[in-house]
């Protein structure tokens, strides 16, 4: 029996992950220095772990309300107000989800009818395209460029919009480019969003990792706030990737629709993680600031190191990735990563894993100590020097 025949057409159409290939290669090798991780190297602050452990010891192991503990939703609203001056109601406008990933999936499934178009910006995080396709929507891509640090411009936006456009997904600070959008950048887009009425899904998981520019959420523009589905979480800011906890804030009708799906598919997000998150939002601003400062210094180091080697990159203003151009080597993104891995046991992720716009680039993470980055850079330099004399 060929079990491929029992699978849904939708699932069969989803392209294999470009990251998977490198994961499989790199995980078979000893002594690999990986610059390919998408998660912090810090442990979750002890306060958060202790709060979650205590909640389990107290026997708080039952389901919570579908939308999440009210006390956590209240803290989420307080946090958004305190950090980014955004106002949401904990009962009407918030769901606690299993990571920002679940929130993205809920948004697509709540919004999309077959044939509805969703604009994605490439290079794009790997889960967005499959998410749209699984929800029955159609992906329309905008190819961003390094010339303007992978920002979205009104011209690019207008070109991509059609009468079938239902939504656009923004991800700033961006994985994989580290690009950001400032208040001035968004100001040019807001009238287009308002006139078209499209829904703006904004994945703000890296919001706290904003460096020289203050983070600006598209939801801060009052005239389109109800069109915005704001998604965030705890993975990057609080080093809680494995806890699988996030949240979504949005207009009441949309949130209720998302909750309809969430309540049947998930019931509620993990209870212990929710208690940890309460502690995180109340008492861990200092820890977040320390981690962010650490990333900033590492960013400075790695940007200089790569530019010195001729693998040019701009200085990203957010997240913990650089997206250097490797075309000077004459290799494709995949060739570069494969040869570097085999020759020097350094793993990066080819830019093509994030879409066509990633060809000629690699994603390099700086979620490592400066000592580890230094070692990896030395090996990359050896790799480049050897190629010169081939």
């Amino acid at each position: 029996m060929d079990f491929n025949d029992v699978l849904s057409d939708k699932v069969k159409k989803i392209a294999p992950s470009g990251i998977r290939k490198f994961f499989d290669l790199a995980s078979e090798m000893e002594g690999v220095i990986s610059l390919g991780v998408g998660e912090p190297d810090f442990d979750t602050p002890w306060k958060i772990r202790e709060a979650a452990i205590y909640s389990i010891e107290q026997g708080k192991t039952f389901y919570t309300a579908n939308q999440g503990l009210e006390i956590l939703r209240t803290e989420i609203c307080r946090y958004q107000k305190r950090r980014f001056n955004l106002t949401y109601d904990p009962c009407k406008n918030v769901i606690v989800t299993v990571g920002g990933s679940e929130a993205i999936d809920l948004a697509f499934r709540a919004l999309l009818n077959p044939g509805d178009e969703v604009i994605l910006l490439e290079p794009s995080y790997v889960a967005y395209t499959p998410g749209v396709e699984l929800a029955g929507g159609k992906v329309v891509t905008i190819q961003l460029t390094k010339e303007n640090q992978f920002k979205l411009t009104p011209e690019l936006l207008k070109k991509a919009m059609t009468n079938k456009t239902k939504a656009i997904l923004l991800n700033y600070p961006s994985n994989p480019t580290g690009g950001v959008m400032t208040h001035e950048d968004y100001q040019q887009l807001v009238p287009i969003f308002k006139d078209s009425g499209i829904i703006v899904i904004t994945d703000e998981i890296y919001a706290e990792l904003s460096y020289e520019d203050n983070f600006c959420s598209i939801a801060s523009f009052e005239e389109i706030k109800d069109q915005v589905i704001l998604i965030s979480g705890y993975s990057k800011a609080y080093a809680m990737t494995g806890w699988r906890l996030g949240y979504v804030c949005g207009q009441e009708t949309i949130i209720q629709a998302m909750n309809k799906i969430h309540q049947y598919v998930i019931m509620s997000a993990p209870t212990g993680a929710q208690y940890g998150a309460i502690e995180a939002m109340r008492n861990c601003d200092d820890e977040v600031e320390k981690m962010k400062e650490s990333y900033r210094l590492r960013r400075n180091y790695i940007v200089k190191a790569f530019n010195n080697m001729g693998l040019t990159t701009f200085t990203p203003q957010g997240a913990f990735y650089i997206f250097p151009c490797i075309t000077s080597t004459g290799l494709s993104s995949e060739q570069f990563c494969e040869e570097l891995l085999n020759d020097q046991l350094v793993a990066c992720v080819p830019g093509t894993a994030f879409g066509k716009a990633g060809e000629g680039y690699v994603r390099v993470s700086y979620a490592y100590s400066i000592e580890q980055i230094k070692e990896a850079v030395a090996r990359i330099k050896t790799f480049l020097d050897k190629r010169q004399y081939k």
Binding site: S17, I19, F22, F23, A26, S27, V32, S34, G36, V37, G38, E39, D41, Y125, V126, A127, N175, E293, L297, R298, N300, Y301, K304, A305, A347, V349, S369, I370, E371, K374
Partner: protein
């Protein structure tokens, strides 16, 4: 230059070179070197030490915390008394505290007898010292933010490549 960032890097990663520091701080190497010299001159940077867990070596070593009560001196407060104590090479660390006693002195020696002899013959007889109480250190769990007694070796827990 962000001096706090420089100090934080030096405090946690003393093996970084001036080049590394300059790259991380986005400054020139000359600027970093001259700032470090300035901070050394002002005794903001007081030394570059390596953290060693001597309990894991074969070296015989005993440490003790001595609680010292003392009367302050007119015009000088506690500083002159403190200097008489901390000038001894046996004294590793010393603090002036609020509370039930004035000084906390950490002393190194080869044996308990050696430390007891130091306390009895050098520390306690200092005129301003009114009382000492010696507590021998049995085990050190953590020092300068580093856990000495982790359950397992620190290994990379993250998957090698993740989105």
């Amino acid at each position: 230059m962000n001096q706090d960032a420089l100090l934080s890097l030096l405090e946690n990663s003393a093996k970084l070179t001036t080049t590394d520091l300059a790259m991380a701080l986005d400054q020139s190497e000359d600027e970093v070197s001259s700032t470090i010299r300035e901070l050394e001159k002002k005794h903001v940077i007081c030394g570059y030490h390596t953290l060693i867990n001597w309990d894991k070596t074969n070296t015989e070593t005993v440490r003790a915390l001595i609680q010292v009560t003392s009367n302050p001196e007119r015009e000088y407060g506690y500083d002159r008394i403190a200097k008489k104590i901390y000038k001894y090479p046996e004294v590793d660390t010393m603090y002036l505290l609020s509370g039930a006693y004035e000084f906390l002195v950490m002393v190194n020696g080869k044996t308990m007898q050696e430390i007891a002899h130091f306390v009895g013959s050098k520390l306690a007889p200092i005129e301003a010292v009114t009382n000492t109480s010696t507590l021998f250190i049995l085990k050190q769990y953590k020092m300068n933010g580093v856990c000495f007694e982790d359950d397992k070796e620190k290994t990379e827990e993250r998957l090698v490549v993740t989105p």
